[in-house]
Each structure stands twice: as structure tokens, then as C-alpha cells.
């Protein structure tokens, strides 16, 4: 049982170190998937906005980590 729990924790650890970063990225991709196709803008901007959101989340996260530590 202990081995399974450790293996699971290691598996999750592959993707999540800072929970806030992971959660915000998931939420942002979800919002982008649902909302962007409905927003009345040129569809060629959808991918660019998705990218910009991911970058903004990363920058905000490292800036906050820098202030916190």
C-alpha cells in the first residue's frame, strides 16, 4: 500500500510542484476551450490568446514565488 501511495505521489509530482500554477493552467485551458470560439474576434487570434494566457500565468507565478521566498 505504501509503495502504491509513493508511486502515485511520484507520478503526480511529474506534473505538479506548485499547485497554483497547475490549477491556473488547467482553468485557463478550460476557459480558452469553452470561451474563445464564442468570442466575436478573428479566429486566428484564438491560438495566440491561449499562448499569451499560459505565458502570463507562468510569469505571475515566478514573480510571486520570487517575492514570497
Amino acid at each position: 500500500m505504501n509503495l502504491i501511495v509513493r508511486a502515485f505521489k511520484q507520478l503526480v509530482g511529474l506534473f505538479v510542484e506548485d499547485g497554483t500554477l497547475a490549477l491556473l493552467l488547467i482553468i485557463w485551458v478550460g476557459i480558452a476551450a469553452l470561451a474563445l470560439p464564442r468570442v466575436p474576434i478573428n479566429s486566428s487570434w484564438d491560438a495566440v490568446i491561449l499562448f499569451a494566457g499560459c505565458v502570463a500565468i507562468l510569469v505571475e507565478n515566478v514573480a510571486r514565488a520570487g517575492r514570497r521566498d
Binding site: Q10, L11, L14, F15, V16, E17, D18, L21, A22, L25, I26, V29, A32, A33, L36, P37, S43, S44, D46, A47, V48, L50, F51, C54, V55, I57, L58, V59, N61, V62, A63, A65, G66, R67, D69
Partner: protein
């Protein structure tokens, strides 16, 4: 059909991820081999490499049966979390917020720990030594296997990515055992930074495609994403540094 704008970054990402993780795994294998004997060290490492190879051989082709749009979104999301985690860590290490990983210190710590656990064991079937190398190689290798399978299956570059990862592993083994010490001079954070950028770029590109968004410049957009991510990450390092925190000391954190 994969093209060179995908194959190149895929091979580089797999090679560098494998290089970084192989260096970290090698430190443990060397420590176990030095303190408790080479036979159990090689048994543990070999068994883990066999399991990892089986994972690539089974999961890689199996994923190619899943519809590409489903793969792009699911694998893309996992790659995004993985890539951004590495990139965040590399940025914070470069900025001095997180301590830099030190292979020499990790080796010293591992040998001390393993020396303490030493009992009167015959070196042929030392369970602690076998388990230690097996776990270290599995733990580091899983990251490489994920990168190879994820990038390889979605981008149709499984074979080039596997070759890239295997080449790095062989290179580290040859250099590591020739020098007979941990590869402390490998620029681990630079490798982490590069892999973080490449994996994040693939992830964002595939997520966009999987969600039905069209990228300006289609396939070549991935090169633009890579360039912008590098610029943003370098800017983020400067931003965090300018916040004026004291630099972190070296530590064994991976």
C-alpha cells in the same frame, strides 16, 4: 506526417531531458556501486531500464491508436503541466530563489547514507542497494519516458525521440564510468530550462491544434513559440532577480 520543425525540437527535448535525468541517476548508481558493490547497483539499474524500455515499447505504439485530436488535448495538457513545472523551476534557480542541484553533494550524501545502512551482506544480492538504484533510475527515467512517449506519440516522432533519449543515456554512462565520478559540471539548470521551453512549446502548440485553433504560420508557429518562451523566461529571471532576494545556497534538491 512529422516534419523537421517537429522532429528537431522533439529529438533535442528527448536528448536533453534524458541527459539531465541520466546524470542524476548516475550519481546514485555510482554511490551504490562505490559503497555496496557494483553487482547489485547494476542489477537494480538494469531492471529499471528494462521496465522503462517496456513502457516505451508498449505505451508508445498503443497511444498511436488514439484519435490525434484527443491525444493533442490530453497529452498536450499533461505536457503543459510538465514543461511549465520544469521551466518555473529553472527560472527560479537561475534567479537564485531555489537552490541549484549539486551532483557532488548528492553523491557525498548518498554514499554516507548507504554506508550507514551497511550490514554484513554478501554483495551479490544486496536488497537495499538493488532497491536504491532501481528507484533512482525509475524515478528519473519516468520523466524521460513521459517526454519520449508524449512528444513521440502526438508528433509522430516516437522513434527519433527514443533514439535521442537513448543516445543521451549511453553518453552519460560512458562519460560517467570513464571519469568514475558524478558529472557535477553538467549545466543542469540550463538543460532544465531548455527542456522546459521545448516541452511547453509543443504542449501549447498541440493544445491549440487539439482545440481547433489555427496557428499563424501553421507548423512553423512552434519555432515562434519557442523563441517567445525563451525571451519571456529570460525576462522572468531578470524580473525575479530584480526583486532583490538573497541567492539560495547549493542544495541537493532535484
Amino acid at each position: 506526417m512529422a516534419n523537421w520543425t517537429h522532429i528537431g525540437p522533439a529529438v533535442i527535448a528527448a536528448f536533453l531531458a534524458s541527459l539531465l535525468d541520466s546524470v542524476e541517476a548516475l550519481t546514485t548508481v555510482l554511490a551504490v556501486g562505490t559503497v555496496r558493490g557494483w553487482r547489485p547497483a547494476f542489477i537494480g539499474a538494469g531492471a529499471a531500464m528494462l521496465v522503462l524500455a517496456l513502457l516505451v515499447a508498449t505505451l508508445g505504439p498503443a497511444l498511436s491508436l488514439v484519435p490525434i485530436s484527443v491525444l493533442q488535448v490530453t497529452i498536450g495538457m499533461l505536457l503543459l503541466l510538465f514543461g511549465m513545472r520544469w521551466l518555473r523551476e529553472a527560472i527560479l534557480r537561475s534567479a537564485g530563489v531555489i537552490a541549484v542541484h549539486d551532483e557532488a553533494a548528492a553523491f557525498a550524501k548518498a554514499t554516507t547514507l548507504l554506508g550507514r545502512k551497511r550490514k554484513s551482506v554478501v554483495a551479490t544480492w544486496d536488497k537495499v542497494a538493488i532497491a536504491t538504484t532501481f528507484e533512482a533510475v525509475m524515478l528519473e527515467g519516468l520523466e524521460v519516458v513521459f517526454v519520449v512517449i508524449a512528444i513521440g506519440s502526438v508528433g509522430n516522432t516516437l522513434i527519433p525521440a527514443t533514439i535521442g533519449a537513448a543516445a543521451a543515456c549511453v553518453l552519460v554512462m560512458i562519460v560517467g564510468f570513464a571519469l568514475y565520478r558524478p558529472l557535477a559540471r553538467v549545466p543542469a539548470n540550463f538543460l532544465k530550462f531548455t527542456v522546459g521551453v521545448l516541452v511547453s512549446a509543443f504542449a501549447i502548440f498541440w493544445l491549440g491544434e487539439g482545440l481547433g485553433f489555427s496557428w499563424p504560420g501553421t507548423d512553423t508557429a512552434i519555432l515562434g513559440i519557442i523563441v517567445i518562451l525563451i525571451a519571456v523566461a529570460v525576462g522572468a529571471v531578470r524580473l525575479v532577480r530584480s526583486s532583490g532576494r538573497a541567492p539560495a545556497r547549493k542544495a541537493n534538491r532535484t
